[in-house]
Amino acid sequence: MAEPVIRVVGLGKSYATAAGLFPALKGVDLEVRPGEYIAIMGPSGSGKSTFMNLLGCLDTPSIGDYYLAGENVAHMAKDALAILRNRTLGFVFQGFNLLPRMSLQDNVALPLVYAGADKESRRAAARELLDKVGLGKYAESLPNRISGGQQQRVAIARALVNKPRLILADEPTGNLDSHTSEEIMRLFGELNAEGITIVLVTHEPDIAAHAKRQVKFLDGQIVSDHLTGQAA
């Protein structure tokens, strides 16, 4: 069997609050293998976003280990984490998080700037991905000129631009209507078919049904983990 893309062992995160330490995540174990497509579900406040932020190297755990592509990143320095965010994974947010003053093409190309790519290859890669998500003709537009669903496609294109093997998405369809959500999920399905590993969070069973595996959270712990009908 292939080495897991993600392996977390006893992962925990506590937040300091006025009432003392609040354990949002209480010792989670999970393995994600290359090519998997996982939907994380669970009620509000169950720790899904906390978990995703740890997986996305945006935050560091209070306890436990996180092996990303075989490397323990739980205690890595800030800049090393930045490089992982840049090269190893792509993160898609609920609120799109595009930079409003930049054209779509520049938004998509931005991770390449931090990767040190030259201008021509940045432009070419951004164009290619905008075409792939069907927005090539809006390359020079600003984000506020296009719809939410289109903005999320651009955000996905941005997540893909450094050719990561892993895409993490925290409620990517949370701000979209059901029709647009379906389109986004179709895009994720295509990406997974190309071999990209996907972990996404959603509240909606319809959305989760697109994934091959469902993991349920409750009170900071995994309470169920099973394959869906999509898993062939």
Binding site: N53, G56, L58, D59, K78, D79, A82, I83, R85, N86, R87, F91, F93, N97, L98, L99, R101, M102, L110, P111, V113, Y114, A115, G116, K119, R122, R158, N162
Partner: protein, 406 residues
Amino acid sequence: MLKAMLSEAWLAMGANRLRTALTMLGMVIGVGAVVIMMAIGQGAQYAVQQTISTMGSNLFIVLSGSFTTAGVRSGSAGAPTLNVADGAAIAELDGVSNVAPTHQGTRQLVYGSQNWSSQVIGTTPEYLDARAWNIVNGAGFGDSDVRSATRVALIGKTVAQNLFGDDDPVGKTMRIQQNPFMVIGVLGSKGQNLDGRDQDDTVIIPLSTAQRKVFGTPFLGSVRMIMVQADSAENMPRVMESVTSLLRQRHRLREGMPDDFFMRNLSAAAESEAETTRTMSILLGAIASISLLVGGIGIMNIMLVSVTERTREIGIRMAIGARQKDILTQFLLEAVMISFAGCLLGLLLGLAIALGINAFTGMVVVISGSAALVAFAVAATVGIFFGWYPARKAAQLDPIEALRYQ
């Protein structure tokens, strides 16, 4: 990478044009002030230096003072206490290189239908040596002219222009106090002296001729002033002392009696004037630097506001892989660009105003490349210094906190 960041910094500056412009204005005024103040300060220094170099070096003058006869003190308007023989005696002293007794006053000059009022100096040929004054056209007079009181004159550039216009003055005859004088030479230009007098508005004639024909002194051979040049700056105090004791001895002043002459060290006066302008120009520069500092603080202020406003943007950039140094560079670059652009405009503004001051007031301004270079170095330093703290604040943000910021 740097190119991409530069164009991003440019975009960010363009995103809030008015604010960028106002921030820049602080730098424009600061740098402009520094440039203007340096131009004026260096100009003043240059002017003084110029004057000092035209004055002649290691000079002092002995002036005829009051003397007391039977309890009646006569002022310097009375009979002069110095005479030509005093001058000759001073010339014998060690360390004295030139001695020139002089008698001067303002007289009307007439040539043809032109007339012009000018300073007339009666003196000996040594005067020109002491003042390092050359003759650009014609020749000077000699000791024989002084002995036989010939009516020859050397004229300054201003006199030549006003009296003779385009004509060559050498060989022409002009009148001073009805007496015809032949112009035998034109003096080199010296410009203004320390008091702002035009030194080229001068006529120099032999001392004896001046006393007999022009000033009509009742006491022949006596003079109001003797100019003395020491052979070196170190020898000045010693020479002045020996002149004092020589004159007291010659004038038969007993112990306890006051001097009947006084001395003025021209070179020391010039030096102190130079020192004054140096101090003034440093002071002007310091005052101008304060406005540069204020400009820098303005940049820091705006960068801090900008970092807060763009917290979410910083979070997004970090989420897609910006390292701390990338964020730091981005904000530092913005600060330095504002500072540089402000500096460039300030430089141009400062130059324009300095040239304007020169054109409208005639004040000497010196615009040096080093001043511009200093202004640029300062602007870069100000940008980095005042941009550093906000940029570091941005770079140290936590990605998750920054992303949550609304």
